[in-house]
Structures are given as structure tokens and as C-alpha cells.
Symmetry: C2
Subunit: 384 residues, 2 copies
Amino acid sequence: MRVLILGGDGYLGWPTAMSLAVKGHDVWVIDSYLRRRIAMDTRSEALIPTPNLHDRSEFFKSVCGKKIGVTIGDCADYRLLSRLFSDFQPEAVIHYAEQPSAPYSMIGYDEARTTLNNNLNTTFSLIWAVNEFGKNCHIIKLGTMGEYGTPNIDIEEGWIEIAHGGRKDKFLFPRQGGSLYHTTKVLDTDLLWFYVRAYGLTVTDLMQGPVYGLSTAESDYDRRLLPNFHYDDIFGTVMNRFLVQAVAGIPLTVYGRGDQIRGYLNLKDTLQCVELAMNTPPAPGELRILNQFTEQFSVNTLAEKVQAAGNGLGLNVTVNHIDNPRKEMEQHYYNAKHHGLMELGLVPHYLTEEVLADMLKTVAAYKGAIDNAKILPRVRWNSR
Amino acid sequence: MRVLILGGDGYLGWPTAMSLAVKGHDVWVIDSYLRRRIAMDTRSEALIPTPNLHDRSEFFKSVCGKKIGVTIGDCADYRLLSRLFSDFQPEAVIHYAEQPSAPYSMIGYDEARTTLNNNLNTTFSLIWAVNEFGKNCHIIKLGTMGEYGTPNIDIEEGWIEIAHGGRKDKFLFPRQGGSLYHTTKVLDTDLLWFYVRAYGLTVTDLMQGPVYGLSTAESDYDRRLLPNFHYDDIFGTVMNRFLVQAVAGIPLTVYGRGDQIRGYLNLKDTLQCVELAMNTPPAPGELRILNQFTEQFSVNTLAEKVQAAGNGLGLNVTVNHIDNPRKEMEQHYYNAKHHGLMELGLVPHYLTEEVLADMLKTVAAYKGAIDNAKILPRVRWNSR
């Protein structure tokens, strides 16, 4: 299949490109390097330096014998994107091309505007490129479980039937993001849903939880093929922060009470999910929404798991609760359904002590590069 | 009160400015003339020529003795808007500055992008100008009843309590717009709701139905103070189209079956509603949503009302059903609540035969200017 990947330089984009290329698909990636620029601007460079996309593609070819086409450019630029559509004629597009940092989106006006316009206009350009150049192309969009927030009812897979006043109807499950970044993903879903209804597009919107892991079949060949690993307060996930803190011998910083529950998944499972979605597209005119995670637990539980794995490796891991820089509920009900991808054939890789130990060992190889100043939160939701 | 009106050149913006100025408020308006430019570009000029905003303001001053400050510029330009906030220090902002045409938003990529970026970035700039320069300023945003679509359950005022799996929570009422224009208003509400939660803004979001009427206390002084009256397929409402068709002696064109039900209101009631909302702001950190219309009926009923009023004036009014250019349900349940503004003191002006006759007489005075070529739909939702 001809697969176009928007945001192919990212933590998920690059491993997806390699994985699909090895499986025999014809893969093209586009990326504007927005994340690299923001990382430089905010002193949030990744722990493990990643070669630029052209170099990675050439190195991948030398190792795996497969070509990945590369365009460096802005997907929000409709002329560029439509030229790519017209030349490459993708049958599926995987859309990762979003400014993905919640803290960055909360710094101030400029950062919020960059997030809003990059994310909305990229999704919008993609919708129109499909409208005009590839009506049957399947859009696979990465959303986030964070679109749902933490409601006091079970989170369904994208849709909910509401009974009200003796009547009923089916609606998008209510969405309420916890940062401007999460809110832009809500807007993306609104936009996609409108154009699915208006023009009969074929769309899968994957509501993904936080992803962890560095190891994939392809990245294991050579460290130059590793995905980027951020542990800073801008792009780093809570998992990566804990791993780095465990290795650096500083306490794991839990934000607030630590009872915040989220659904997590292994990078290997992201690759599976995206491929499963691609291989079994929904009907034209359907917006299929799947919740993409494999297990849910609290931040405290995550800290305990990292602590146990770290101590098993002879590290002396401690845990510290700090003021929560975010505005979020720290005690809440959380029960999110996630049947759809299992039914498509997902075989989960759970967060075992072995998986954690492997990640800790990878991070330990870069211990000398850890900069403690990057770890603590610099952005506060309440600063205004 | 110092009141800033975004979109002060519009059908609602200008009458609101006059009305509040006469009541003793200190009023400033800003408008980018986007609607005038689109009207020129699409051959959709208004039936009654309206002077530019500076001229209207000067003429208004000569008639009513009150000054209305005027800035011509783009509200999506944050530097301009924040300078205005810093200079004028508004205590309330009424935000009408949206590309308001559903058909325009469905023409193609360029028109859709203009609609998306104008509407979202104007709302976004306003949010940030309030954040930075006027934290206590009350934002009164004009939404649309069209945000809700036509669900099979009663439409509540903005919020709904959902019981699900033995638990319950309160959410924004589900939204599903029928055009890209309506969808941008859904996105506006999402954005406002996020920043209300994040920064404690004070916001009233008025979900307004189609407005009709030309007569207000101030516009009745002189026809140079009239609001704009569009009957074209781009900016004209179904009501205005019917009025012009009745006067021009051509059949009223009902789109499809004509069982589409909407909530309507008189321009005089828009002025009341906005003033009532302004005089009784919600608490900081509250997103108050009010459904703004006074009566609901189908397009067929509207056609019958115009026919009866027209025939009462000696016109020979006929009705014709044509292919629906839009994608919308033509038979549906519709029951929208609208208690909030009544409780604030709204005294409705209903659509009586007298009101219709007055409008028909005003239109008849411009009969010679009617261009039949502008009336029939040129934009189809299904064209892709």
C-alpha cells in the first residue's frame, strides 16, 4: 500500500515508517521539524540525539534495504501537501503532524497560537488534499485519550448513546481537554467529523494514551534508528521522566497526589494498532474511533513500578510528590473502554518489570547526557 | 459601561452599537469589512446600500448626539486587538466578528480556510487580549443554535447531565454543525470552554437562531442607519429570501420538504438579549450558555406566514419547493429549550403578520434594486 506519514520525524512517526516499509509498503514521510525547533528554543533537546530525517532514511536503507521517501515541509501548507498527494497518490495517510506538548501549549500566547494553527491547519489541509486528490484515501488520525478528560462516567470508544427526556440519540462522546494541546485535538475530531458527514471521507481517529518504549524490531538494529527520547518538561512523558530520574539517582517527581489515572501503551503496540487500523479501514463516510491503550493505572502505581524495576537493577529509587503544575483532577473516576483494537487483533505488550528494566538499561547508556535542569516543570497552568 | 463590539459593521453589530450608545454606554466598534469583501467577490451585495462604518458613525452622531468609536482592522490580528484593549479598556466585549455564511464556507478550500482561520483566530485573539489586558472583561460571544444541529432529543441550554452505566456527569450539550461555518462556532465554544476552565474567564455564549427585521429604535430614524439586508444565497437568510421573492413576484423557494424547524427571533430581541446578558454577567470562571430565539417553526410555516402577509398587501405570493442544496435532515424532531433569557427579562417581539407586512413594505421600497440572479442557490454541499 502507498502510505504517507505526516510527522514522520516524530517519536511515533519514524518507527511507524520503518515498520511499514519493512512490511513491504511504499512509505513516504513529511515533517516540518517543528518539534526540533521547539526543543532548541525551549532547551528541551532529546536525551539520545537522532539524525535528521534524510540521514535516518539513508541509514535505514543501508541496514534494511528499504527506501523511505522524505519531504521536509509544513503539512499546513496546502499547496505542498496537495502536490505530495498528486505525486505520491497515497492510499492511506497516518497523521501524527501535531505540536504534541501540553506544557508548551500553555506557556503563553505565541506558543498557544502555534499549537492551534499548526494542529488545526494541518488537519484541515489533509482533509482538503484527500477531498481533491484522493477521495478514497483512508485518513488515520492520532487523537488522544486526553480529549475525553476525566469524566465521572465510563469512557466509551468515541461515541455514546444518550437517553434524555424519553428520547435518545447517538453522539460523539463528550470531550473536555486538560490543555490547549488536548483541546486542539478535540477540535481536530470535530473538524474530521464534519467533513466525514459532508463529503463521505474514510477516517479512523485513534484516541491514544501515553506511549512508552524505545525498542521496535527496526530500531533494535542500530541506535541511529532509535526514536527520539525526551525526558524534559516540554516533550517528556511522565514515564520518561521517571526512567531518567531513576537512572540519575534523583527522586521520581509525582505531580500532586498521584492518583491521576491514564491508559498507557507500549510503542510496539502503537505500531500494531496503526497497522491494524490501516489494514481494515472503516466504510467511506464513517468516522471510526478506537481507544488506543492496553492498561490503565495511576501515576503512583507507575512510580512504584519504576521504583521496583530500578531497585531490581541495583538503583536506589525514591519517590517525591511535588506541587502539580497542571490544572487537573488528582482524584477521579476513570474507566475507559478499549475493545475495538483488541477485536482487530492487537496482542498487547504490557508494562512488565522486564520491559521497565530494558528501558532503564537503554537510558543508563546515556546517563552522562542527562541534564537535571530540564526535568522539573517550568510551565504552570495557573500562571495567569 | 465601556463596550467593545467586534464585527461592528455587521447586520447585528451596527444596531447593537447604536442601541448601547443611546443607552449611555461608551461604545467602540472594530470590523475588518470581511463581509463587504466577500459580498463583492461573490456578487452578493446587500439590497440596501449601507455607508461605511466611519460614515455611519458620523451620521449617527449628527442624529443621536452619541459618539461610536471606529477601528477598521482584523480582530484576528492580536497586536491590533490588544492595543485596542489597552487603550479602550472594555468592561464587556460583544463578539460578532465571524464569517457568518454557511454557503460561503462550503464553496471550496479557500473559502473554508478563510472561515476557519477568521473565526477561530478572532476568538483566540479575543481570549488572549482578555487574559492579558482585561481579566475581568465579560466576553459575550454570539454562537448559533446551528451548533446543536437537529438531535433526536430535547436541546438544553448549552449543558446536559448524562446518566451512563449507573453514574452521571454534566457536559457541554453535544454539538454537530451542518456546515463548516457552523462547525467553526462549535470549535469557538470548545476553545472558550477550555480557557474558561484554565484561566477563569467570564463568558456568555449566546446560541442564536436566525434573526429577522430591519427596524430598531435607532435605525428607524433614517434609512442611512439601517442594518444591511442581504437576500442573496450567500448572506441572505431564508426569511430575507422569502420577503424579496414575495415583493419581486417570484415564488418563494423552499429547500426540499420544508419541514426543517429552527428557532427564530426579531432583531429587536437580539438587542434586548445582548443587553440583558451584558447587564447580568455570569460569575468569573463560568461559561454561561443561553439559547437565543423566541419561537420555533418550520420553513413551510415561515413560507405560509410570508404568503399570508404578502397576500394581505395585495401581492400574489406563491410557494415552490426546490432541490435542497444543503445536506440537512428535512424531517426531524426539534425541541429547543430557551428559558434563560426570558428569566433575565426578555420581552419577545413575535413574528406577527404586522411585523411581516412592515418588512415587506421596507423591501418594496427597494424593489427596483432586486437582482433575481442572486437569489437561487449557487453553492451545493454535495458537490464533491
